[in-house]
């Protein structure tokens, strides 16, 4: 009895483990309705916030091989919601985003590093208004059933991208720092 049971248990254990270890869940199907990109900044000491209603993201992330992960996020700048129609119209103009000439902002990862405890760091390039900057974006990853949720925030300086030129170029009324916060939900593919 004994000599036959052992290999069977081993085989069973292996079989149970196999589907998970050989091709682990890879998250790549972005769920737009459960994702959000918001921003916040200071206007004369008052925190103001807003969001982008439309963006697309392509990503692939395998928690077991985070260094192989990559993501590209394209934000449709015309979908901005600053909280007032007057401001939405204003920021579309030349001195802000110049949306007719530069309709999207893009973030593209170059490398992803695991920091442990579900925390990661994505280094990449952010392009807005024709200007590209290297940025490091910290993010957490949480698996929720079939879905995986990426959340994080980072700060960009609007001056680096010429967002708000001319009369807005000084930072006394609208601050330079803009906090970007995101939550991207992606389902695991097979």
């Amino acid at each position: 009895m004994k000599p036959t049971l052992k290999p069977m248990i081993l085989a069973l254990t292996l079989a149970a483990a196999l589907p998970w270890s050989s091709h682990a869940a890879e998250y790549r199907q972005v769920q737009a309705d459960q994702s959000a990109i918001t921003f916040a900044y200071q206007q004369m000491g008052v925190t103001m916030d807003g969001k982008f209603n439309r963006f697309t993201a392509q990503l692939s992330f395998d928690p077991e091989r985070p260094e192989a992960a990559n993501a590209t996020v394209d934000v449709d700048l015309a979908s901005i919601d600053t909280g007032s129609a007057e401001s939405d119209q204003e920021v579309a103009g030349k001195v802000w985003f110049n949306i007719p000439a530069f309709p999207t902002a893009r973030f593209e990862t170059r490398s992803v590093k695991a920091l442990g405890d579900h925390r990661y760091e994505a280094a990449g390039q952010l392009t807005i208004k024709g200007k590209t900057q290297d940025v490091v974006v910290p993010a957490t990853f949480t698996a929720q059933g079939k879905a995986g949720v990426f959340e994080g925030r980072f700060t960009l300086r609007r001056g680096d991208f010429a967002i708000g030129e001319g009369p807005w170029a000084k930072f006394d009324v609208v601050a330079n720092d803009v906090q970007i916060q995101f939550r991207i939900t992606a389902n695991a593919g097979e």
């Binding site: 004369m44 000491g45 008052v46 909280g83 007032s84 007057e86 009369p167 000084k170 006394d172 009324v173």
Partner: protein, 180 residues
Amino acid sequence: MTTHYTPVAKALHWLIALLLFGLLALGFYMQDLPLSPQKLQLYAWHKWAGVTVFLLVLVRLAWRVTHRPPPLPEHMPRVMQLAAHAGHVLLYALMIAIPLSGWLMSSAKGFQTVWFGVLPIPDLLDKNRELGDLLQTVHLSLNLFFVVVLIGHIGAALKHHFIDRDDVLTRMLPARNLEP
């Protein structure tokens, strides 16, 4: 026999009057400007001054409930005395309602008021565009009504002074200059 308002009442009356004229002028002026840093700056000043007036009006109301103002001249008919009281009640109500509507409008529009850039005033309402637009109309309508009531108030004071030739206007003026 003293027929004058107390120095505190006079100081509050004229300080608030000065601020109110500034606020009315600034409010109508700023709201037409194209969006610019100056416009945002003016909005912030308007809101700070508006909150200041609101607080001063509260102090003034506290003075009013603890003091009896000098009586109206005896030559005034009873209805006119009632009308004068009603007018004053209306002025107080508007001086409370206008800043309140401004504050609520700012909350609903998602622009928190931070008094002099230092003291955040809590937002009583959540961000809501329709409500914000509605409150803007309320703020504007109350202000237009206020202008009408003010014209009546100033007109009445001038009538007392130049036509009735009584002391209704002078008793609110600084005492030293007018009563030797």
